[in-house]
């Protein structure tokens, strides 16, 4: 094996110091708080694993976790097929393509809290376009009063905000397919569906994986949009994990349970990141062996 010069590692020392100060030390503090009951700056009691117990047995938390999982899965189930369909129907060349790309990307440029506000107004029955239209059609729609309406609105908002990301990724993936594949398909007289099933979908595997994981992680950490739109209500029907955490930590100032909960949240995200990382790496190697065969 060739000897490797490891001195370059010294060059990242400043970054390590910065990260230590901004991320590692605070994380250590969180671990520290999670085993104590901080009553006041002077008075604190070591409680061991008590907070982890109470958090793990907390039914509100389990509810929030379940809602979070359901929401993330629903987001994926709607946004991925819709994104693919959108990408397939977008024009491939010319000024139309550019125009559509810009139009599609607009919603991605809007800040989260503005998206929340837009939908808050959009869904109002008295002045909002969607709310008033639904009311005029005879639906008893109210995203502040009815849990399923609130869910529907939050989900629709996320679909509106983030499907373009999936569509843009898929669009890029589709453009990367060489023309030769389509020519071969047309020689074989393949139907549109066969082209999609046997050429486009397999070739989209890589970008789709990234889209799935990006959307999963992002929706798993969603905070601002439902907070602005529904404030977690009605009741706690749309209170997702990060909002529940904020209520605990900032609202009630229960540092101990909030710290324990943050660590559990961190572990969930860590596991997801690990799976994401390995999955993406494997997708890369699968593509390489695929190219070797083809």
């Amino acid at each position: 094996m060739k000897p490797v010069n490891q001195k370059a590692w010294l060059l990242i020392l400043p970054v390590v110091l910065c990260v230590a100060f901004s991320a590692i030390l605070p994380l250590m503090t969180v671990v520290n708080y999670s085993v104590q009951d901080i009553i006041s700056p002077e008075r604190r009691v070591f409680v061991g694993t008590e907070w982890f117990k109470s958090v793990m047995r907390d039914e509100d938390l389990q509810g929030a976790l379940l809602r979070q999982m359901t929401f993330s899965l629903a987001v994926l189930l709607v946004e991925i097929p819709l994104g693919i369909a959108l990408a397939l129907s977008m024009p491939a060349k010319g000024w139309k393509s550019s125009a559509v790309l810009v139009l599609v990307a607009i919603s991605l440029l809007i800040p989260w809290n503005v998206v929340g506000t837009i939908w808050q107004i959009f869904g109002r029955v008295d002045i909002g376009l969607m709310g008033a239209a639904l009311a005029a059609l005879g639906f008893d729609y109210s995203y502040t009063g009815n849990a399923s309406d609130a869910w529907f609105t939050v989900l629709l908002m996320d679909v509106w905000h983030w499907t373009p990301l999936v569509a843009l990724l898929c669009f890029a993936g589709l453009r990367a397919i060489p023309d030769a594949y389509y020519q071969a398909a047309s020689i074989d007289g393949a139907s549109k569906f066969a082209v999609f099933r046997y050429i486009q979908l397999p070739k989209l595997r890589g970008v789709l994986m990234i889209a799935v994981l990006l959307r999963f992680m992002d929706s798993f950490m969603i905070y601002t949009e439902p907070f602005v739109l529904t404030g977690g209500g009605p009741g706690n029907a749309t209170t997702f994990l990060s909002q529940y955490l904020t209520q605990k930590a900032v609202g009630q100032f229960d540092l101990g349970p909030a710290a324990a909960f943050s660590l559990i949240y961190f572990l969930i995200i860590l596991l997801l990141c690990f799976i994401l990382y390995n999955w993406m790496q494997r997708v890369g190697t699968a593509d390489k062996t695929g190219a070797g065969h083809g």
Partner: protein
């Protein structure tokens, strides 16, 4: 100077253990570099990967134990909640298993 951050001894022990682990892994790596291999885990892993997976699994084992330890009293007819040390040793055994065979 550490008073205001409310540090406690168990947390200090915890982080010292992690630092010790990192140092030990570095020394081990220098003495005998790790080989990418495939065990019972679905992916090929190096020693560091297995440590990470093992620690993550250990954390989940402890959390799961804490979540159900209250109910264990009913399940097994115990007089009090089982000690967290049980899951700690179980998770360390799991870590060792993943390190060796994973």
């Amino acid at each position: 100077m550490f008073e205001w951050m409310a540090w406690t001894l168990p947390v200090a022990v915890f982080f010292c253990a992690i630092v010790a682990m990192l140092v030990a892994m570095t020394v081990w790596e220098l003495k005998s570099p790790t080989v990418l291999r495939r065990g019972f885990l679905p992916i090929a892993t190096t020693r560091g990967d297995r440590l990470f997976i093992g620690l993550l699994a250990a954390a989940y084992v402890n959390l799961a134990f804490v979540a159900v330890s209250e109910r264990m009293v009913g399940w097994f007819g115990l007089e009090e909640e089982p000690s967290i040390w049980l899951s700690f040793f179980a998770s360390m055994a799991l870590l060792a298993l993943i390190m060796r065979k994973g």
